[in-house]
């Protein structure tokens, strides 16, 4: 960074101090405030989405029985005498998926951690476009409000699954229109955010911080931003088309000759419902990697820091992330093997799906090998990061039978699929996000979260989350379909029905376990143990800024001369060397990471 921009920085700092409260903390342009806004909103939506799922679990464990205690609080369009209606069940299912993916995990992983950590790790004073950043958050906020409000629309929220397949979604109640509008806001929010991430990483890196010296987290966010930028526009187009189908009686996704509920459709027809699936999954498969890559980034940071050794295979990991990004655009139709596609198409997508598993395995293996030869500190962030490895491993492995079209014939649309992607996203990504919260909390607040409460939170979550998702594989192999309001209708679902009781109780106990996190989070903001700027003894640039960092982040622009993970360098008193430490006398091997 030049001295001119340093001067600019100082004036910005000066102006910032004069800003009124609402400009500083509500309509803020500071990446750290926006990051915290994103993170807190994302955590709230995660909890809300989780509550929807806990309601679903009552109906699945005890179908047709009145919900105790809170059942009577719902109005007649949701529950009658505390007994859930199928309309409401379908709303809960569709909105659980939508909220968790688009309003919980992505905003927390990308909007929260990306915004807060990325500029600090590249040594920038702020994002490249601070105002765009603010707009991005507020578009997300409005999108979230629309989605939330849609529960109060006539006939309730969207109820055609988070995938919103037409024609079902086209003929659904007004909640679906609100879903599409909400998605439009969320999509544009992500697009603005992604441009900011790309430009910030490309242009605002500190002096000396070359691409292969970037922390793995920055790489993960940088590549994720490209995925968002390139994958979301097709969904935006699809959402507009579905909106037109619903509001302007067009037939993009409606074929001719439909007879809905005994009434012959008067639409012109000629559309194709499969078109939606292609557009949707063209986004939604890269979206899977949008959910995973930032999580891998967090885990890499936490593992490197808490093993006290350089990350194993850093360069192979970076190359793998880039490979995943390219490949993630050519695997989408593996969600559609059973739509009637021919064998040539299905063979192509099976092959690409098998190929994309290889870079994923490289990253996971490198993270596991990073433990070898370390001196492993088992603090709370590390526990979550280590647990991510086998949990994500199960999620990845169970993707293989689904990626092979002929095994998918039996497993498609069963609970096996639900188990698979939840292992990727819940004990996978969400555990990584918890690791990130515990790891960067001291940077954001200047205080540490309680280790005792953190460890209770980890162990209870780890046990119960497996209780929720492991039985799903058994149900899936037995052929139990997903999205069934009452699974006891089917003879083939009856033998595994007792597992639903196990899963539901695990889910409710998992919900209760989060109380330890909530208490810890709020207690530590005010009364947590005060820490200095680098409590973990970490190497990357964010730990050279004060905790919490002021507006403009660094007291003086950092200059980088070393790789991101110089831990336990021989001949040093401390077991870490900051990236910004000047390279005086050449230290054997240091400063170069290949």
């Amino acid at each position: 960074m030049s001295t001119a921009s340093a001067a600019h920085l100082a004036t910005a700092e000066h102006h910032y101090e004069d800003l009124p409260f609402w400009r500083k903390y509500i309509f803020s342009t500071d990446h750290k405030v926006i990051g915290i806004q994103y993170a807190v909103t994302g955590l709230l939506f995660l909890f809300f989405g989780f509550c929807l799922m806990m309601l679903i679990r009552w109906q699945l464990a005890y179908p047709g029985q009145p919900l105790p205690l809170i059942g009577n609080l719902f109005n007649e369009s949701a529950m009658v005498g505390g007994i859930m209606l199928p309309e409401f069940y379908n709303q809960l299912g569709a909105m659980h998926g939508t909220i968790m993916v688009f309003m919980g995990v992505v905003p927390l992983a990308v909007g929260g951690f990306g915004n807060f950590v990325l500029p600090l790790q590249v040594g920038a004073a702020d994002m490249a476009f601070p105002k765009l950043n603010m707009v991005s958050y507020w578009l997300y906020f409005v999108g979230g409000v629309i989605m939330f409000a849609s529960f109060f629309a006539p006939a309730g929220a969207a109820q055609s699954g988070w995938t919103s397949y037409p024609p079902l979604a086209n003929i659904a109640s007004v909640g679906q229109t609100l879903w599409l509008l909400g998605m439009a806001f969320l999509i544009n929010s992500s697009l603005l955010g992604s441009i900011n991430f790309i430009v910030t990483t490309a242009q605002l890196r500190a002096k000396g911080l070359s691409f292969y010296k970037l922390p793995f987290f920055v790489w993960a966010q940088f590549i994720t931003a490209f995925l968002l930028l390139l994958a979301f526009p097709p969904l935006m187009a699809a959402a507009v088309l579905q909106l037109m189908d619903r509001l302007a009686a067009t037939s993009f996704f409606m074929p001719s000759g439909l007879v809905v509920n005994g009434v012959v459709s008067q639409l012109s027809g000629g559309g194709n419902p499969i078109l939606w699936q292609h557009l949707f999954w063209f986004l939604a498969h890269p979206e899977v990697y949008v959910l995973i890559l930032p999580a891998m980034g967090i885990v890499a940071e936490v593992i490197a820091c808490n093993t006290r050794k350089p990350l194993y295979g850093y360069k192979a990991m970076v190359d793998s992330v880039i490979a995943i990004a390219f490949l993630s655009f050519v695997v989408w139709a593996h969600h559609m093997y059973l739509t009637g596609m021919g064998t040539k198409m299905s063979s192509f997508f099976q092959i690409t799906t098998m190929i994309i598993s290889i870079p994923s395995v490289i990253i996971l293996t490198s993270l596991a090998l990073s433990l070898w030869g370390g001196s492993i500190r088992f603090n709370t962030p590390m526990l979550f990061a280590v647990a991510f490895l086998p949990m994500f491993g199960i999620g990845g492995l169970t993707g293989l039978p689904l990626g092979l079209a002929s095994a998918d014939i039996h497993l498609h649309d069963t609970y096996y699929v639900i188990g698979h992607f939840h292992y990727v996203v819940a004990p996978g990504t969400i555990f990584a996000l918890f690791a990130g919260v515990y790891h960067w909390f001291p940077k954001a607040t200047g205080r540490r979260m309680s280790e005792a409460l953190g460890k209770i939170h980890f162990w209870l979550s780890f046990i119960f989350i497996n209780g929720v998702f492991m039985p799903m594989f058994i149900q899936g192999l037995a052929g139990v379909s997903r999205r069934l309001y009452d699974p006891t209708q089917y003879a083939h679902a009856l033998p595994t029905q007792p597992l639903n009781v196990v899963m539901s109780w695990s889910a409710w106990l998992l919900g209760l376990s989060q109380i330890f996190f909530i208490i810890n989070f709020f207690k530590s903001i005010f009364w947590g143990q005060k820490v200095d700027q680098n409590p973990w003894g970490a190497t990357t640039l964010e730990w050279t800024a004060p905790s919490p960092p002021p507006h403009g982040n660094f007291t003086k622009p950092p200059v980088v001369s070393r790789g991101p993970y110089e831990y336990s360098v021989p001949g040093r008193k401390l077991d870490y060397v900051l990236q910004s430490e000047p390279a005086e006398a050449p230290v054997a091997g240091a400063g170069k990471v290949k």
């Binding site: 199928p86 299912g93 699954g161 397949y165 079902l168 003929i171 000759g257 007879v259 809905v260 509920n261 005994g262 012959v264 027809g269 559309g271 419902p273 499969i274 350089p310 739509t339 009637g340 064998t343 099976q350 098998m354 598993s357 290889i358 395995v361 490289i362 293996t365 596991a368 090998l369 433990l371 070898w372 030869g373 370390g374 001196s375 492993i376 280590v386 491993g393 199960i394 492995l397 039978p401 002929s406 095994a407 014939i409 039996h410 649309d413 192999l477 037995a478 052929g479 379909s481 999205r483 209708q489 089917y490 003879a491 083939h492 009856l494 033998p495 831990y567 336990s568 021989p570 077991d575």
Partner: protein, 255 residues
């Protein structure tokens, strides 16, 4: 519906195609278990051996390379190629492409709607009567044209799929309204039913019994109860059933 067909594992398989699907499911789960066990053993070993303790220090080896993981990685890639070429692609191709000759097969139409399966049999003449969406009514679920004589002996059942054992069946799947998914768990048959398209599938049962049709794709409020009955009869019994259904239809008209 008999509980002996279903349990905690895969449902009973009574189809000619199912064995190769099941085989792949078993083989790949064996490999997954092997990989996972090896991997978790390594993980636990690493966590215990390299835990922080007094006198223990981390090693600084930024350029160290482990050979075994690379070999495992290559082995995984080779295994995936084998799974694709020897199992998945041939099986999928057999299910999708290698239809039995029409002459030897029973040909039925399956017309899905919210929330029922209409099964249309061509009857003795083997020709489906013409249908028209405009003729669909509560008494005529597929809109059979009464003017077409080919349809006179056609039989339409609701949620009742009867097939003869040891006979290939070709089913043309279509939907009147939204996307459904036609699933016969015991036959390892599952196929999306897309409105605006007719998707042919084929299958052949090896054993008789009473099973179920499931809808595997969310199709609305009644998705959970879009269950049909799937009966595999001996050839004689199937013929008698078809005869009986025809009698019901024509008998109703005459008498």
């Amino acid at each position: 519906m008999d509980s002996k067909y279903y349990g905690w594992g895969l449902p009973i398989d009574i189809s000619t195609n199912g064995a190769s699907i099941d085989q792949l499911i078993y083989v790949i789960h064996g490999l997954m278990a092997l990989l996972f066990l090896g991997w978790i053993t390594f993980l636990i070993l690493a966590l215990v051996r390299f835990r922080e303790r007094s006198g223990h220090k981390a090693e600084y080896k930024p350029h160290h390379h482990f050979r075994v993981p690379t070999l495992v990685e290559v082995a995984v890639a080779v295994t995936e190629v084998v799974l694709l070429c020897a199992f998945s692609i041939p099986t999928f191709s057999q299910v999708r492409n290698e239809f039995p000759p029409k002459a030897s097969a029973l040909h039925v139409r399956v017309v899905a709607e919210q929330f029922a399966w209409n099964i249309h049999y061509a009857g003795k003449d083997g020709i489906f009567g013409k249908t028209d969406v405009k003729l669909i009514s509560p008494t005529s679920p597929v809109g059979l044209d009464p003017a077409d004589t080919a349809g006179a002996d056609d039989i339409i059942t609701i949620n009742q799929l009867h097939i003869p054992v040891d006979t290939p069946v070709i089913a043309d799947l279509s939907s009147k309204d939204v996307i459904h998914c036609f699933a016969l768990p015991v036959m390892r048959v599952k196929q999306d039913v897309i409105p605006g398209q007719v998707i042919p599938i084929w299958f052949q049962a090896k054993e008789t019994g009473n099973f179920e049709i499931a809808c595997a794709q969310l199709c609305g409020l009644g998705h959970y109860r879009m269950r049909g009955f799937f009966t595999v009869d001996s050839k004689d019994k199937f013929g008698a059933w078809l005869e009986g259904e025809l009698m019901k239809k024509t008998g109703g008209k005459v008498g």
